[in-house]
Assembly symmetry: C3
Homo-oligomer: 131 residues x 3
């Protein structure tokens, strides 16, 4: 098992869980009762941070593990840590204003791009060499 990747995965999952914890808190703060998901832009930005993180989980986690298996556990974990950092920046800045969400988003997207390219090279190499 790629232990470092496993560790970073748990941290990423706990971070994503934290973005979801902020939603009921924002519901109370801005008076948006469940099941409503709109009605106040401050609430909607907190909700969109969770949703966007959710939307990227099935991109990030599978690519992270494919990279770990086909390339390197330690490099996968290092890239995963950068992804989490980008996600934290995205959460903090998007919560302030929608216009600020670019840089954090770009960091985490770039990490996923590197994971995808590395995984693809590793997979195609294994197929080509009958590995």
């Amino acid at each position: 098992m790629p232990h470092w990747t496993a560790l970073v995965s748990v941290v990423a999952i706990l971070f994503y869980f934290y973005t979801s914890l902020r939603v009921p808190r924002a519901r109370r703060k801005y008076g948006i009762l469940a099941p409503a998901i709109s009605g106040n832009p401050d609430f909607e930005r907190v909700f969109r941070v969770q949703m966007n993180t959710l939307e990227w989980m099935p991109i990030f986690l599978p690519l992270l593990w494919l990279f770990a298996f086909y390339v390197s556990d330690v490099w996968a974990a290092a890239l995963g840590a950068i992804w989490i950092a980008g996600r934290v920046v995205y959460m903090v800045s998007y919560t302030q204003a929608a216009a600020k969400r670019g840089p954090g988003f770009g960091i985490q997207a770039a990490v996923c791009g590197v994971l995808a390219i590395g995984a693809l090279i590793g997979i195609i190499g294994s197929l080509a060499h009958g590995g």
Copy 2:
């Protein structure tokens, strides 16, 4: 392969699929045509049950498998079965009223907490002992 965990995973995925099947049925019942996702609180609660189950899939499934690999297949499967039971309670009670959604939600969240703690202990132990 952790066969019991694999079996519980398929059941959890089929249950999640079932929560998504209820959405088009609720669309017809309450007259909310796609692509709209709001307009009637009865529809919105059915939609939110699916969405919330979706939101927890990338928490539950990876933690379940990490727990299975690092701790125990049979215990992972037993905890996974409790998670599914909590999710069924959540679905039934949230569909009735938003205020009733707490207990089922708490059960499944507690299971994920146990899975996360167990996985973390197992992963850190493996890293510490060079396993």
Copy 3:
């Protein structure tokens, strides 16, 4: 590692990523600024294509890998390729009109049904034979 399944997984993830890329483009085209997710049916259909693909990722990817491990890598990859094709049909047709979204949706759902049945048979067989 099931290399063909890994390859198809990366392609499926890149396709899902493409459905999410279409959302900011549709925001600009139809003047729906983040964090809003409604207000124009043409935008909402593009958004729902991404959301529905997201909703099926935790069904498709785990079943694909369970099928690969318990049944066959090559067959998993072939079924995964059909799933992607069904998803492309769904994206193109739902973007045109909500009423056209049926056939593509049916193809990808049928693939997931086959993956689920195959995985279940494989898992239960392994449990029964102590494999």
